[in-house]
């Protein structure tokens, strides 16, 4: 466990978190989705969470966002327990979920409107649209945007609240391979520019190695973090370097083994 002295103001700490849902086939029994998950995330870190589908990655992210509550265990931001959703913890889904009835600009400033601070921060809206390169699409409705553009708008919408932690739930999963690689660089650029702590859920091993400081591997039934692997490759990383590929085959071997057992 993490000693209190190490806890920084914007760090995330999870301690023995458990969560179960009613089983779909039998409402009387419950299915344990998260079974004692513990980890901590330092300020400014970018950490990936990988694992097969159904292992509880998204559930974990929803708990951190405050959209669901855990059965037991502690979730802390600094020393504050997480109870309800908060603008300090931004969340970006695989589907950009832009509000289709708002233009790109109004989508990006939605967080400011929701918190009633649009007036003071109006000038920031332009900065964030420029940050994700959408300034000329300000007055366009989302259905005109391509997948990558929509996801950039969703990132800007989450970042405009200056969240302490940005939670990314397979944000690039729906994009084609080329757009995805470009967007990985885009997210890294935003991370390096703003040093926002990021927790990235992905099922793409390459993406996890390319982007993160550490990789946490989850296994299903019961959902648990089985292994944490530090990625000590210098940035910008080469997707075809020897170390990259070695790490990749290690992780694959581990996942393969864990899947069989």
């Amino acid at each position: 466990m993490v000693a209190p002295a190490e806890i920084e103001a914007s760090s995330l700490v999870l301690c023995d978190v458990r969560k179960s849902f009613p089983a779909p086939d039998n409402p009387l029994s419950r299915r344990q989705v998260l079974d004692g998950v513990s980890f901590s995330l330092g300020a400014g870190e970018l950490i990936s969470l990988i694992g097969p589908s159904g292992c509880g990655k998204s559930t974990l992210l929803r708990l951190v966002a405050g959209l669901d509550s855990a059965d037991s265990g502690d979730l802390l931001i600094g020393t504050e327990p997480i109870t309800v959703p908060n603008a300090e913890r931004g969340l970006v889904f695989q589907d950009p979920n832009l509000f289709p009835w708002l233009t790109v600009r109004r989508n990006i400033q939605a967080g400011l409107v929701a918190r009633g601070i649009l007036h003071e921060k109006k000038n920031e809206v332009d900065d964030f649209m420029r940050l994700v390169g959408l300034e000329i699409f300000a007055n366009v409705y989302p259905h005109h945007l391509s997948g990558g553009m929509a996801q950039r708008a969703a990132l800007a919408r989450a970042l405009i609240n200056h969240p302490k932690i940005l939670l990314l739930d397979e944000p690039l999963g729906a994009l084609d391979a080329f757009t995805r690689m470009r967007m990985q660089d885009e997210v890294l650029r935003l991370w390096e520019a703003r040093r926002t702590t990021m927790l990235l859920v992905t099922h793409d091993i390459d993406e996890a190695i390319y982007m993160s400081d550490r990789i946490m591997i989850m296994t299903p039934r019961p959902g648990r973090i089985e292994r944490t692997i530090p990625v000590e490759l210098a940035r910008p990383r080469q997707r075809d370097s020897g170390d990259f590929l070695r790490l990749r085959s290690d992780i694959l071997k581990f996942l393969h083994f864990a899947g069989k057992s």
Binding site: G66, F93, N97, A110, A114, R115, G148
Partner: protein, 331 residues
């Protein structure tokens, strides 16, 4: 990464030039035909009776020739003509057929089925009363409709958003709502001293049910992920309701508004023909009482124009409100 092009529906395509001339000539030709047919079959009629009918088609011919000459100056006019002229031609031909069946061969019993010239005469002679009736209908319809929409939106939003209100409100809605508003007429007459007020209330009731139903289903079917995203952006309850759930429900709400409009037309006409002493519904039953079927048909024509204009206005409002859905909706 480029945005998709804003695809404007390209239904209005300029036909090839030979066809275009034929289209242009179709309207004056049809009008000329109608005029000739009428001149032949109405020889025995007094000329005063058929004067305005002739005048109408002479005007149609004159205006259509004028427009055919003017069309080169305005592309908007050109598109409109290319789009509408076939319809107008058919309408004129149908009037001509009506003329032949009624006045020409006397195939339909009189006085129930007067010819188009007689209907036109009634329309012109009784224009003041018809206009006045239309005005009264409009006032009654709009006051009832507005009341019903406001009530329907409020109850629909409450039922859609709050589960306790849904629990208690939904059974009431399901039991009371499907009763046709016109079935309440006997009760409404007893309860309210004024026929106008009770009719407005009945129209409001007729509108309220579909608007409530569709609004509440739209609100409660708001995509959960929109609400989740808004909550992680720091949204409170007011933002979730007014900036997420309601905008997400607007397409549904408009379906309710259209259904309510249809119900309000029905209720208006029935209420006017049984209780209220003004309006188009009253005019129809009054004219029927005097066996003046020319006036009945005249009022039906006005009603068609009146109701379809209101419908068109609502369509325009919807297109405005749902501009963000452009290219998504087709109904």
């Amino acid at each position: 990464m480029e945005p998709q092009e804003d695809l404007v529906p390209t239904a209005i395509v300029e036909p090839p030039s030979a066809l275009r001339w034929r289209t242009m000539l179709a309207v004056p030709f049809a009008a000329g035909l109608a005029l000739a047919v009428h001149a032949f079959i109405a020889k025995r009629e007094p000329s005063l009776e058929t004067h305005s009918y002739r005048l109408l088609f002479i005007e149609v011919i004159a205006v259509s020739i004028l427009l055919a000459l003017l069309r080169r100056f305005s592309p908007g006019l050109r598109h409109w003509m290319a789009n509408m002229w076939p319809i107008f031609t058919l309408a004129i031909v149908l009037v001509c057929v009506w003329d032949i069946i009624t006045l020409g061969f006397r195939m339909l019993p009189l006085p129930y089925f007067p010819g188009p010239s007689a209907v036109l005469r009634s329309l012109i002679n009784d224009r003041v009363l018809l206009l006045d009736s239309t005005w009264h209908s409009l006032v009654l319809l709009l006051s009832g409709y507005t009341l019903g929409v406001i009530g329907g939106l409020i109850s629909g939003i409450c039922i859609g958003w709050s589960s306790p209100i849904r629990y208690w409100g939904m059974p009431l809605l399901k039991v009371v709502g499907p009763i046709p508003a016109t079935a309440w007429i006997p009760l409404a007459m007893v309860l309210s001293p004024s026929a106008i007020i009770s009719s407005a209330a009945l129209i409001a009731l007729a509108v309220w049910f579909p608007v409530t139903m569709l609004t509440s289903s739209g609100i409660s079917n708001t995509r959960a992920s929109y609400l989740d995203v808004a909550r992680t952006l720091g949204a409170g309850r007011a933002y979730l309701i007014f900036h997420v759930a309601i905008p997400a429900a607007v397409p549904n709400i408009f379906i309710g508004l259209f259904m309510g409009l249809g119900a309000s037309f029905l209720t208006l006409v029935v209420a006017e023909s049984v209780g209220v002493k003004s309006g188009l519904g009253w005019y129809v039953s009054w004219a029927q009482g005097w066996a003046e079927y020319g006036k009945v048909f005249a009022a039906l024509i006005i009603m068609a124009a009146f109701f379809s204009t209101i419908m068109t206005v609502l369509f325009k409002i919807r297109d405005r409100a749902l501009v963000w859905q452009k290219g998504v909706i087709k109904w």
